[in-house]
């Protein structure tokens, strides 16, 4: 009847081009340095949101602990930068020069073993990718092999986020505690605090994001993506067809974790510090919200969702801090009740048809994944 969709059809390419044009041309031209840096910060959340589209939208696995992976990436990068900032001459007023200042305040006299690898940049980058993947693998294989799913998975990951926060805050000699790791200066000798560095980092961030988007689309359009959707709809039937459901779930959870970690590392670079306030329950849920607002089944939607919610947050909280929480709360409820497919759904149901009509550009391909998705989403499974 219809063939599986090929990787990146015309519509995807168009969407990618539009996204790239907005991020690479429109924003840098229109926004001043300060606002552009803010957009850069928002886009680091978009990494998490893209991961959640795969994991939650397609796989049906809602993780409320993505902040943990974001933090693993962010802390990894922060540890490297902190070690570089804590050279012996920078820290000579300490009782033990050459270790980060917060360790000195906590009477540590030498660098703990797990900080050692973060002296090297390549090793740091490797660990930023591997540690979250490993954690996701451990959590995922423990739970998915035992067929934990849906609500239980969400609550357990939420508890993990809570534990991680308490641990990081409690072990302040090793982690910087509630203050986080602050006062980061240079990346391999390159001062990341200057405006020009921030400008360059923005483009690095966008390039990485576009790469992640392409990879996510590749996964979505591969056989794996189809199996994920099938699993979400009828897990048992997929299992009876001879697929190892758990392995697919573990894989997509790891992937989402790694995406988040990349976002976290870029966050540290652009914001200049990492703190446990990005680990806990609240930020983890907020990241889910970005995805939901953008459209849980749309990779591009997730990015626009992260941007839109954060823009709204910044501008509303500048003018009406009291209204902001009411607005955010109302937005969540509206997204769930009225627009379960978020911005992407609104676009597809209202904007796209009128554009199509205007350009008489009728989609000839009946296997257009967008329409499939719309149908699937309108009947989200009961559990």
């Amino acid at each position: 009847m219809k063939t599986a969709p090929s990787f990146m059809d015309r519509k995807d390419l168009l969407a990618l081009a539009v996204l790239a044009a907005i991020l690479l041309i429109a924003f840098p031209v229109l926004l001043d340095g300060f606002r552009l840096n803010l957009v850069g910060k928002y886009l680091t959340y978009a990494f998490v949101a893209v991961g959640l589209v795969l994991c939650w939208g397609y796989g049906g696995i809602l993780s409320l602990g993505q902040g943990v992976f974001f933090a693993l990436g962010g802390y990894g990068m922060a540890m490297y930068l902190k070690l570089e900032a804590s050279s012996v001459e920078n820290t000579k007023i300490q009782s033990t020069p050459g270790i980060p200042d917060f360790m000195d305040w906590n009477q540590l006299t030498e660098l703990p073993w797990f900080w050692q690898p973060f002296h090297s940049l390549p090793l740091t980058i490797l660990l930023i990718l591997l540690v979250p993947a490993f954690f996701a693998f451990v959590i995922g294989s423990a739970m998915f092999k035992r067929r934990v799913s849906g609500v239980y998975f969400a609550i357990i990951t939420q508890a993990i986020a809570a534990i991680a926060t308490i641990l990081i805050i409690g072990q302040q000699g090793y982690t910087g505690g509630v203050n986080g790791i602050t006062d980061l200066r240079t990346l391999h000798g390159w001062d990341i605090r200057t405006d020009s560095a921030k400008f360059i980092l923005y483009f690095v961030n966008v390039a990485l994001l576009l790469a992640v988007v392409c990879f996510a689309m590749f996964v979505r359009d591969s056989k794996l993506g189809r199996i994920l959707v099938a699993m979400r709809e009828k897990e048992d039937r997929v299992r009876f067809s001879g697929y190892s459901v758990a392995n697919f779930q573990i894989f997509v959870f790891c992937l989402a974790g790694v995406f988040s970690a990349i976002g976290g590392a870029m966050f540290t670079l652009q914001v200049g510090f990492m703190s446990p306030s990005l680990v806990g329950i609240v930020p983890s849920i907020e990241m889910v919200i970005f995805t939901a607002v953008g459209g849980r089944l749309s990779i591009f939607g997730a990015i626009y969702g992260a941007l839109a919610v954060n823009f709204a947050k910044t501008s509303l909280s500048e003018s009406f801090p009291e209204l902001w929480l009411l607005g955010l709360g109302g937005l969540f409820i509206a997204v769930v009740l009225v627009f379960p497919n978020g911005l992407a759904g609104i676009w597809r149901d209202y904007v796209q048809p009128s554009i199509d009509r205007a350009f008489k550009l009728r989609s000839k391909d009946p296997a257009d994944p967008g329409h499939d998705v719309a149908k699937q989403a309108s009947t989200l499974p009961a559990e």
Binding site: L64, M143, I289, G329, G330, F332
Partner: protein, 308 residues
């Protein structure tokens, strides 16, 4: 650390520590009961549970202010009035929320999580606008503070006894209501098979609304009782949410017995660990153990066989 103490002292300490564990158990159970009904029986993830508790706390505060200004002679018993009002207020709000929001989401449990999280933000901001961003201090009648000396060393906290008594009372009431009453029969029928329950003439919508209201009402009573031991502020509700969910999940979501067992084991573990280790580590170890066990036994301690 025990070398310097006589056997009598040690015995007294262990007795008091056991009592502390029991208080913690009551607190946990009281927190979790409302959620166990809503989450366990209805499958709704109510992230605004803490905010319903805080509503109860604010109602208690308002009642205490009212009594001290208008009925100072009856101040000693205002707390009972406050708890009844807290139950009504939280229950009514719960039913309203069920009617406007939750009933549209029964088929999408994960979405109830998002929607109720949004609700919790709205409630927090509402409390902040109405009652101010600062904490309010709830004045308790004198007879509720202090302790009863049992021996020279052992003292029993009155408010601890009060919370324990309240927990026993509410738990018994919930059990009778769920397992012995006609309403409970209907609730269980709806849980086990919604369509069949509807087919035999149960008004499932009404049952849902009352169940949700009941859960929220119990949360309100818990919040009211917690003014004795905790703080009352716009964001205080968030403190309870993780513990509460873990207790319910650890017990096996659909089992009320499980909730009791899990509240008991978690509270004992935590209070014992807190005695031997420092507070932060005790919390981390308890939570890690619970999560570890849940990974190995995801269905929780007790499970109810339900045809899905």
């Amino acid at each position: 650390m025990f070398g310097d103490y006589s056997l009598g002292d040690l015995g007294a300490i262990f007795a008091m520590q056991g009592f502390a564990g029991l208080i913690l158990f009551s607190v946990y159970l009281l927190m979790a009961l409302g959620l166990a009904i809503i989450f366990g029986q209805m499958g709704v993830i109510n992230m605004a549970h803490g905010e319903f508790m805080i509503l109860g706390a604010y109602v208690t505060w308002l009642t205490s202010v009212f009594f001290s200004e208008h009925l100072p002679s009856l101040f000693g018993i205002y707390f009972f009035v406050a708890m009844a009002l807290a139950f009504c207020a939280s229950g009514a709000l719960g039913m309203l929320i069920e009617w406007t929001l939750i009933r549209r989401l029964y088929k999408r449990p994960l979405d109830t999580l998002l929607a109720t999280w949004g609700l919790s933000l709205i409630l927090q901001q509402t409390y902040r606008s109405v009652f101010g961003p600062r904490e309010v201090g709830v004045t308790l009648p004198d007879w509720m503070m202090g302790s009863l000396p049992v021996t020279d060393v052992i003292e029993v906290q009155i408010n601890g006894l009060f919370v324990m008594g309240l927990t026993v009372l509410i738990t018994t009431a919930v059990f009778i209501m769920i397992f012995r009453s006609r309403f409970g029969q209907q609730v269980r029928a709806v849980v086990q098979n919604r369509q069949m329950a509807g087919a035999v003439g149960i008004d499932t919508e009404k049952v849902d609304r009352l169940t949700f209201g009941l859960g929220c009402g119990i949360a309100g009573v818990a919040g009211s009782a917690f003014t004795m031991i905790g703080s009352t502020g716009p964001t205080a509700g968030q403190l309870y949410i993780v513990d509460t969910f873990l207790i319910v999940v650890f017990g096996g979501a659909a089992s009320l017995f499980g909730t009791i067992a899990s509240a008991f084991s978690i509270s004992q573990a935590q209070s014992t660990l807190e005695f031997f280790l420092s507070g932060s580590m005790a919390k981390v170890i308890t939570l890690l153990t619970v999560v570890g066990i849940l990974m190995l036994r995801p269905q929780g301690l007790f499970t109810l066989k339900v045809r899905r």
